[in-house]
């Protein structure tokens, strides 16, 4: 496994997902109750139909209950969500055992109906201390009690991931549950643009350290990851969540709000595979004008003619990079070395392009967001682990 498609709202989602799986550039889907209803409605297939079609295409189906999103104060787009009936008479919340148990039983039942692995719900954490962290831990323990083979989820804002030894201690308690699968998510409070934000090196170092620890015994999936999640594959993750819209590549609270300004369609972007970056189409055109072979090499293939071609092109570039890292198996030193070399080459390519193109088209800020900050997170993690 390497790339799972996060759920999305667009009408063509299922068709595009199964086509990508059939083409070998995605390996399955992460279903969300927010985006796929349990019962079919106009323009949206029922969850069972989606699961059947994805499996028929040869893909894996994981139903992520997205409880951490449901319990964000801002989440109110529950039209599809409520069709899943994931909460019992005790009410919504993971603050008492009665609610936890009712929710867990319903989540596991839905996952079983869909043929998904059991994946326990969790809460969004700001800190490894305090009542919310305790509730999340208790929920995870109950989930294991109900389903010994249950996968587990760990979701936190940057403030959670940057807590150093306190994060490690919390992860130690979770690791004792021996979950066969871990689904990790970095929650953004706001997603301002279509670029990764790994400026908080300490937080992403914490994420990578956690991936390293959990992947010693378990499969680790990093959700809403896209290119920003690639360092996690160097640390031991084997699967990233991605897709074609902004809300699939980054955990964006707006994806769960009815006040959302609408679907973010990255039609005006083109993925530059050798840069590990998604740049505006006009920047892609400018790179193309520099001539071949450099342009095609940097892009990783021919210029995608339209949105459909870009969806495939993006997944292919991401999949290829993830495969190049995970092919090293459990040898983290080699995984890190592979990605380090990728970033160092990408930095050189960026520098050459920045010199060749107008500053308004491409500049150091692009390089910083796509290469320098992920590289720093990788370096910080790897140096601490003696892998650099």
């Amino acid at each position: 496994m390497s790339v799972l498609i996060q759920d999305g709202r667009r009408g063509g989602h299922l068709r595009w997902a199964t086509q990508a799986i059939g083409a070998g550039i995605a390996d399955g889907v992460l279903l969300s109750p927010f985006h796929t209803p349990r019962v079919a409605v106009p323009r949206h297939h029922a969850g069972s139909k989606v699961a059947d079609d994805v499996r028929e295409a040869g893909g894996e189906v994981i139903f992520d209950p997205c409880t951490h999103a449901r319990l964000l104060p801002s989440s109110n787009d529950v039209a599809h969500y409520d069709t899943w009936q994931l909460w019992g008479p005790a009410g919504v919340g993971l603050d008492v055992d009665a609610r936890r148990l009712e929710h867990l039983e319903r989540v596991f039942a839905r996952q079983s109906e869909l043929g998904s692995i059991p994946l326990a719900p969790t809460l969004t954490l700001d800190s490894p201390f305090g009542v919310v962290a305790d509730h999340a831990l208790r929920t995870a323990q109950l989930a294991r009690g109900l389903a010994r083979d249950s996968g587990q989820s760990l979701v936190g804002r940057r403030s959670f991931w940057r807590t150093g030894p306190d994060l490690d201690a919390y992860v130690g308690q979770l690791a004792a549950l021996r979950a066969p699968v871990w689904a990790l998510t970095v929650v953004n409070d706001i997603v301002a643009d279509n670029q990764p934000d790994l400026a908080d090196t300490a937080a992403f170092t914490g994420l990578l350290r956690t991936v390293h620890s959990l992947s010693q015994r378990s499969r680790v999936i990093v959700c809403y990851a896209d290119f920003a999640g690639v360092p996690a594959t160097a640390a031991g993750a084997d699967t990233l969540g991605s897709g074609w819209d902004r809300g699939m590549r980054y955990f964006d609270p707006k994806s769960f709000q009815i006040t959302s300004s609408g679907i973010q369609i990255p039609a005006s972007y083109v993925t530059q595979g050798r840069l590990g970056a998604v740049l505006r189409r006009d920047t892609g055109d400018a790179i193309t004008r520099l001539g071949d072979p450099p342009a095609t090499g940097i892009r990783g293939g021919p210029m995608p003619a339209d949105d459909t071609a870009e969806r495939s092109h993006h997944l292919r570039q991401l999949h290829t990079l993830v495969d190049a890292i995970t092919v090293h198996g459990g040898v983290r030193q080699d995984r890190v070395a592979e990605l380090r070399a990728f970033y160092e080459r990408a930095a050189q390519d960026f520098d050459a392009l920045i010199r060749a193109l107008p500053r308004r088209t491409l500049n150091d800020n692009h390089r910083r967001r796509w290469v320098d900050e992920p590289y720093l997170a990788l370096q910080s993690y790897a140096e601490a682990e003696g892998l650099w």
């Binding site: 305790d134 030894p165 992860v171 350290r209």
Partner: protein
């Protein structure tokens, strides 16, 4: 009640023969005796006439309850219930089997040990811990005074006086007991004990037996000690002794991982790894 009268009441309550002092002092008085003609140990815990009396009594009861539940040749057996003596009561006492040999604490001048002896230490203590971990019990105070080397050369686990059932552990942080120099990162105030904490403790004993020194030494500065446990990685055992076999060094180093998630999670996982070495002909 004077001391002589107290001992006589203890002897009568437990049904043993006369009590001979073995170790008196600290939180526990230990005597040798006989129960129905079989040599045994009588342990007596004074109950202070303070606000902590209930806590001391509960801890003693827990130790006896745990020992009576655990069935393992690698854990000392309890031969009676916990009996309270005196009106307040003044002491709680019970009978345990008498183990021959010496506590690890009395053998520290024989360190460093040969690798085969350390393999035996790790395996036997892991067996004893496994008997506890299977019951969701964490020992929490693995130290040289709580491990005994029998005359047969095998080891047994003793004194789980601070042991705790995981299901009864509060989620919020509380102070954890432990012996300075032999604590795990989870012993740091606010931490949560778990089976992997005992694994760290076993790693300390193995490291010390191999090198004669502690991996995370305690220098009478509690704050510095807690900080080192939380933030610093223990040195690789080969930095203290370069002739330690690779497989033994790997086991000890993994036991001593600062992050619990990177250790053996419990004694069963450690024993599984050791069995793999045995299958390959690597350990005793």
């Amino acid at each position: 009640m004077d001391h002589t009268e107290l001992l006589e009441e203890v002897r009568a309550a437990l049904g043993t023969s006369a009590l001979e002092p073995l170790r008196v002092g600290g939180q526990k008085m230990v005597y040798t005796s006989e129960l129905e003609g079989v040599p045994c140990v009588v342990k007596i815990v004074p109950i202070p006439d303070t606000a902590h009396s209930d806590e001391v009594l509960e801890r003693a009861r827990r130790e006896v309850e745990l020992l009576s539940t655990v069935e393992s040749p690698y854990v000392v057996r309890v031969l009676s219930e916990a009996v309270e003596v005196g009106d307040r009561p003044e002491v709680v006492c019970w009978v345990e089997e008498l183990l021959d040999g010496s506590d690890l604490g009395d053998l520290m001048d024989t360190f460093p040990w040969q690798p085969d002896d350390v393999w035996a230490l790790i395996k036997d203590v892991a067996e004893g811990l496994n008997a506890c971990h299977e019951l969701d019990v964490v020992h929490r105070d693995l130290s040289p005074g709580n491990v005994r080397r029998r005359s047969s050369g095998r080891f047994a686990l003793m004194d789980p006086g601070f042991a705790r059932h995981l299901s009864k552990t509060a989620l919020t942080g509380v102070y954890q007991p432990g012996t300075p120099g032999y604590c795990s990162p989870e012993h740091v105030p606010g931490g949560h004990p778990m089976p992997a904490s005992d694994i760290f403790g076993l790693g300390i004993l193995a490291f010390q037996a191999l090198t004669g020194r502690l991996p995370v030494p305690y220098n009478s500065n509690e704050g510095a000690y807690w900080d080192a446990l939380r933030r610093a990685d223990a040195p690789a055992v080969k930095t203290g002794r370069d002739d330690v076999p690779d497989d033994l060094a790997d086991v000890v180093d993994r036991c001593l991982q600062r992050q619990a998630a990177r250790r053996y999670l419990d004694a069963a996982e450690l024993l599984e790894e050791l069995q793999g070495f045995v299958d390959e002909g690597g350990t005793t």
